[in-house]
């Protein structure tokens, strides 16, 4: 079973640790704050209060044996850099570090972070994109050139089959999945909908009102979809 360590239990670190644990992973959660450790004690495999900038302390919990360590300390940039450095020196294979700004991210990479994430910046971009184009619900960069995009199907597509719409010929993007809400009545008589995902839909698949299209393509091609009505 894969082993993870999460160092720094702010909101970001806490939600990573909780999600990993809920998926059945072994998680060591580390923080300086005793209260936070007490909160996580029942959630993760092991919750330890220690100063992660100290190599000895890290070694004492066997951090060198985890597969992935996430450094999610909050405001203390110096601590986050030191911890990242220690982890790599101790031989942790994969270190993911949270950066507060571009310079912080640069330094984290220099000291060996395998991946640097900017959760606040990324969330900011997502929220802004949704505000500018409400039709686009999500946008994930897969590589510098390609992205995945979740788009509310335009009215003009309703009732038509995939082969009849112009996504591929005109925009050069592929429909990799359709998220569909199917209306139903619960046993209590309330209305509700079930969410269905049609993965790799055939060209005969007919679109209905409310469908969300998950599209894959070059970022520049996807960008042009923003103008779809």
């Amino acid at each position: 079973m894969r082993q993870f360590a999460v160092i720094g239990l702010g909101r970001f670190g806490m939600s990573i640790a909780e999600t990993l644990a809920s998926r059945g992973a072994q998680v060591i959660a580390i923080d300086r704050d005793e209260e936070k450790i007490a909160d996580m004690a029942d959630v993760v495999t092991q919750a330890v209060q220690l100063d992660a900038t100290e190599e000895r302390a890290l070694r004492s919990v066997g951090i060198q044996d985890v597969d992935v360590a996430v450094v999610s300390v909050g405001e203390d940039i110096q601590a986050s850099i030191l911890i990242t450095l220690q982890l790599k020196e101790l031989g942790v294979k994969h270190v993911i570090a949270k950066a507060l700004n571009a310079m912080h991210g640069k330094i984290l990479r220099k000291v060996g972070a395998d991946r640097v994430v900017f959760p606040e910046r990324d969330m900011g971009i997502r929220v802004a994109q949704r505000l500018v184009t409400p039709r686009i619900l999500d946008y994930i960069e897969l590589s510098p050139t390609h992205s995945l995009l979740e788009l509310v199907a335009p009215h003009a597509y309703e009732g038509r089959r995939l082969r009849e719409i112009d996504l591929r010929p005109k925009y050069n993007v592929s429909v990799v999945a359709i998220k569909r809400k199917v209306p139903r009545i619960t046993s209590k008589g309330d209305t509700e909908f079930a969410e269905e995902v049609v993965v790799a839909p055939s060209s005969e698949e007919q679109l209905v009102k409310g469908d969300l299209l998950v599209l894959l393509g070059k970022s520049e091609d996807l960008e042009r979809l923003r103008d779809l009505e």
Partner: protein, 94 residues
């Protein structure tokens, strides 16, 4: 005397409108469902269930701002409305 009959008729009308709204929703006739629920709300503006049902229709067709407003009203009127709260949390969370 007629005063006694009217509220009863009103209740019957609202129940009918809600049933029609549900029927249209189940048949994916979302615009008609919205119409019926809105008519029902004109008659009984304080029914959290109608707001909830209307929220479900809006959410189904990705009109999320309107869906959010409906769920908010449902939760405001009935604090322990779990289903409405779940939908609201999810919409706000995305």
């Amino acid at each position: 005397m007629s005063g006694e009959e009217q509220p009863e008729n009103g209740v019957k009308k609202v129940t009918e409108l809600i049933e029609m709204g549900k029927f249209y929703f189940l048949n994916q006739c979302y615009e008609q469902a919205i119409e019926k629920y809105t008519e029902a709300l004109d008659l009984t503006p304080n029914d959290p269930d109608i707001y909830y049902n209307l929220g479900i229709v809006y959410e189904s067709i990705n009109r999320l701002d309107e869906a959010r407003q409906m769920f908010e009203k449902a939760v405001d009127m009935k604090g322990d409305f779990e289903a409405a709260r779940e939908h609201l949390d999810r919409i706000v969370g995305i």
